[in-house]
Assembly symmetry: C2
Homo-oligomer: 417 residues x 2
């Protein structure tokens, strides 16, 4: 109860701050980003020594190595965060842009303009850089934010927020524009998700468990992000010179990220040729392959893929493989098991490519290239707040515009109805 009250109070403060944010000029918002950037660099030592405390606590708890890697800050990583803020300051203002206007026969002048959401809630896990990115992008887009990071990074996050807030206030940003929920209790996430009317949108960034919990309990609108069961389908008409390197790198270049390939589908007519080739390359790179019956007839050394495999985001050097009868079966399999993230076809057959792009239900559908390109920077959007894997509001890599909504402004001279 106390916990709920405290979080509600923070969100109320953020809401009040958001009312002021809506009237701030882009100069004020950009200057805040630059001051925040400088403050990070100036306080490097303090950030690193605070982070060392989090790392020590995590190690003592026996936290997994890759989790600790995400938690860890280095001078390079702090410099990258500071640079990210400077880059964001250079991006065009996402606010105020008019995207529709009409004068109606009765003389009403109707305009639709981009406005901030108000209060953006971000719930995330180990990476402290999310604290900086999220605060920066929210301020750039005229929003207040309520941040809730993972318990393992609590000291680092609090220190970062302290530094960022002081710098932002110096630039005349309202005091409560950046609110950080320091309650590490899991119930804090649920309490936050139910603050409808105070928080305008919640963006969870993290594993499937976190996202599931948020979706299950939230009455605040949610933008789901990040889970990626991505597929590459190698068609009968595939050019192997494209297919082999694309498939190989989509699995091995960074297996832990959401846009890495998890399932390879191969047309039956070329499987006897293609599968042994790609299997050899993948195995040389320590990838474990799990195949369906047909693929195990061609390569009997593959492990058995179960029903569960098709729906699994491994985030690891594991790949499931299935032989399909053609583009239709590939599309059907993908629409059954994908997470609406990214899927690709490798083919020289334009008809097959078109069909695949039309009928595969995903935020990004690729032809003759890799799912690994689903990324705000790769798309040229600059800073990214996450990758949306749902269909409402924003789809795929979310840049600054995803943190805005619209408003109709109507001017009349006494019209009545």
């Amino acid at each position: 109860m106390l916990l709920k009250k405290e979080i509600e109070k923070q969100a109320e403060n953020a809401k009040a701050a958001s009312r002021k944010m809506a009237g701030l000029s882009i100069e004020v918002r950009n200057s805040a980003l630059l001051k925040m950037s400088e403050a990070l660099e100036k306080n490097l030592d303090e950030i690193l020594s605070t982070n060392a405390e989090d790392l020590k606590a995590a190690e003592e708890k026996g936290t997994r190595r890759n989790f600790i890697d995400r938690l860890k800050l280095t001078p390079k990583r702090v410099a990258d965060m500071a640079e990210g803020l400077r880059q964001a300051a250079k991006l065009p203002d996402p606010i105020g842009h008019e995207d529709f206007h009409v004068t109606r026969p009765n003389g009403l002048k109707i305009r639709r303009v981009r406005v901030p959401f108000g209060v953006v809630g971000i719930i995330y896990e180990a990476r402290p850089n999310v604290t900086v990115d999220a605060a920066g992008l929210c301020i750039k887009s005229g929003n207040a934010c309520v941040l809730r990071g993972g318990s393992e990074a609590i000291r680092t996050n609090q220190k970062l927020v302290e530094i960022l807030k002081a710098a932002a206030i110096e630039a005349k940003i309202p005091e409560h524009a950046i609110e950080f929920i320091a309650i590490t209790d899991r119930d804090a996430v649920i309490a936050m998700c139910r603050l409808r009317k105070l928080i305008d949108v919640i963006i969870p960034r993290g594993g499937a468990g976190l996202i599931q919990r948020v979706v299950e309990h939230s009455t605040v609108p949610v933008i789901e992000t990040g889970t990626g069961v991505c597929h590459i389908y190698v068609d009968k008409a595939a050019n192997f010179e494209i297919a082999l390197p694309v498939v190989l790198t989509a699995k091995i270049s960074r297996p832990s990220v959401c846009n890495a390939m998890e399932t390879l589908l191969i047309h039956k007519d070329i499987a006897e040729d293609f599968l042994p080739k790609i299997s050899k390359m993948l195995k040389e790179n320590k990838v474990e392959l799990r195949g369906d019956e047909l693929s195990r007839k061609i390569c009997p050394d593959l492990k058995v893929a179960t029903e569960e495999d098709w729906a699994t985001e491994y985030n690891d050097l594991i790949l499931s493989v299935k032989i399909v009868s053609g583009v239709d079966e590939a599309i059907e399999h993908i629409n059954k098991y994908n997470t609406l993230h990214s899927d690709a076809i490798i083919t020289d057959d334009e008809e097959a490519a078109k069909k695949f792009q039309t009928l595969v239900d995903a935020s990004a559908v690729y032809v003759n290239t890799s799912t690994r390109f689903t990324d705000g920077f790769e798309f040229g959007f600059g800073a990214e707040i996450g990758i949306s894997t749902q269909k409402l509001h924003a789809r795929g890599p979310m840049g600054l515009e995803a943190l805005t909504t619209t408003k109709y402004l109507i001017e009349g001279n006494g019209q009545t109805r």
Copy 2:
């Protein structure tokens, strides 16, 4: 349990149908609308006699008069529904339009195109015309739909769906593109709201209770619609020749709709002049006024407005009145009590108007005209699926575009990452 299974099966069928819908040409979709339109006209007698059964049952249950009015179909209302479908057929295709494209330095061609949502769930109450409008707009936009109407209209809705489905199938629309949930149990609404991955978006249309229930239980993304606590603020610099008719009509022309005014705010400097004038006009039109302390000093015959009044959508000939110290207090009051729907300022002071439009948080903010214009037809969008009162995806009157999402289509020639 049986209920849940049955609804799930219908949603699965709709999902499968939506995969086919995504590939249908606009010619097929438009021809379906025209056939559906004809079928309504051809089956007028059957529709009216089925509707008579619903009306009889409702009357026997002692249902409220205005509810029965909404339930009732007449030859004119059926003709209007048929005409609505013909109008929708004339609207431009919302699908396939490219709204962004870029060629990246590495040669990747990235395009963003409008695509259907997939399956749209619509939950509504007494009005059977929603069945026709929703089915028509979903098919036009390439979506399948799962409809769930109120129990009072069950016979009428089932008859309409039977007629619409037969006509759509004749035009080569997949059989399950229009699914109607005939289970009148309230739990059916909740079961439907939890079919994440089968239903892509749910749009509730109805009273605050229905919308609250959907928001509370849904794991499917929701677009909230329709609740309207709309305000008009008459500023110190208001032209009374504009203010008087705008305020009067905003209350009396159709008090039952969501864009009608519920609260009138008046600048203190003109209140002694304006309030008696408007009060007289409103009372002549049977409007009950409830005022704050200051307004009751000027017009002692006003009833007392309580805290609850400020947050109430009367949908009736009742108006709450408050005297404010200026545009800042007006904005503060509105941001505390509005439902993000529509609010207006009457003023000749451009600065006050600009401040009001910038800082009032609503889907439509008016200057010198009435909140009653928040309506798809009035905005020139044609058919309307509802008025969004939330900030995600769509805001204000939702036309066909609100029933679409986007998809990135990327073409490469072997790029890897």
